[in-house]
Symmetry: none
């Protein structure tokens, strides 16, 4: 994957299907994408492997999207080169993140420089809390509260349709702001901090470890730090860690 | 059929599937309708008769819409009680009628009193010219000109989604976010970190100290962390500092 971030606005978003169950839905999602001019599809651990013979017929001619689809083992790998990660959910989550509706999400993708990824969860259950923790924002489609069962390809088409609308808007004035660092740089920062916190007992008791790590991810994902800011924070951590080693060597 | 027109605005539109071919698409259209609170489905001469055993499973719980579906022999009969008839088409027609996009159509349905019907044609061919001739307006979804094959249920969901937005016009924006912490809490966090970095030599050489502190302030101000997030970060720092003291006391 090329992790260079484009300097122009309105890079088309990447659609990431996380653990999709049915090949038919993958094909329909590809068709929906191409209906509005999107071609970058990524699959995380598709249940029935890949390629899937049910996808092609459902794509109804959008084979080009399926042929280019990239497959990953984890969400983290799938979004490593993305500057902005958005998670689609229907239900409310115990995570405090900014929530956008499809219009707000489309405007954000239109305005914020860099590569955006939109995560969609498996048909039956939606995204897991850990997947959502990786994202900076949550996208929720305002839907009939008495009937919230939205088909995967239908969710995809609503978001790409809203995105396509922004392509006809005049471009906003260029801000000089750098885009957020690619997700893999942020992951490196978080890993460095976790490695320092672990021996200090930050993650004990064991029963709360998962929740504690998730909270830390959320707090550090929120800033949208750019490449230079991530480097600054890594410098801070390196300084603190080096001092510990100095202390130890003096002891 | 009750042909009385309601005097209030925003009567929910009637969805009319004209000669639909696949039961599965009828079920998916019903599901899409109920997703956004619509329940009035009408079928004109469905190819495989009605009821269709493939519709139920595809409706994924929207059975109520299928059970209430009314079947007609002709488009004229299906829209006899409707005050406004809109025909969805992808291709341009040789008929001169007002053309609306989904947003324009939703506004029209929201504003023009009476019952609105939206006609959708068969999967393979779309509406025939005679069907379109019955309509007062044409609705066209602006789509990739290189890939205009839009699934029937996808076309339905885009229009009912746009309609649903007009129902929420008065609703506030979706955000459950906590506000950023008061500045003094952020300052407390920054002071704690600076106090840890100082003895570690982070701010030397002296000539660059002001710039280095400024950078750190900028990086930590950017997130807009809320009260809970600031507390989390202070906990992280306290853990790292405590470990240092433990190291020192062991020495």
């Amino acid at each position: 994957m090329n992790s260079r971030t484009d300097s122009s606005l309105s890079m088309p978003p990447v659609i990431v299907l996380v653990r999709p169950q049915l090949g038919e839905n993958i094909g329909k999602a590809a068709r929906a994408m191409l209906n509005f001019g999107l071609t970058q599809l990524r699959l995380v651990a598709p249940r029935d492997g890949w390629p899937n013979p049910a996808a092609g017929p459902a794509a109804a001619g959008a084979d080009m999207v399926l042929e280019r689809a990239a497959v990953f083992n984890s969400v983290a790998e799938a979004v490593a080169d993305c500057n902005h990660v958005h998670a689609t959910t229907v239900r409310k989550r115990g995570i405090s993140k900014p929530v956008l509706d499809p219009v707000g999400a489309a405007m954000r993708i239109h305005q914020d420089k860099g590569r955006h990824a939109i995560l969609f969860g498996p048909e039956r259950s939606g995204l897991e809390t850990d997947d959502v923790a990786l994202a900076r924002t949550i996208i929720t489609i305002p839907i009939n509260p008495q009937f919230g069962s939205l088909n995967l390809a239908q969710a995809v088409i609503l978001l790409v349709y809203e995105w396509s609308k922004t392509q006809h808007l005049a471009q906003p004035t260029l801000t000089q702001e750098l885009p957020p660092a690619p997700q893999e740089e942020l992951d490196g920062l978080i890993a460095q901090l976790e490695a320092m916190l672990e021996p200090a007992g930050y993650f004990s008791p064991y029963s709360r470890e998962v929740a504690t790590r998730r909270t830390l991810h959320t707090v550090l994902t929120r800033p949208g730090w750019n490449h230079l800011e991530v480097r600054t924070m890594r410098g801070v951590l390196t300084t603190l860690a080096r001092q510990r080693r100095n202390d130890e060597s003096r002891s």
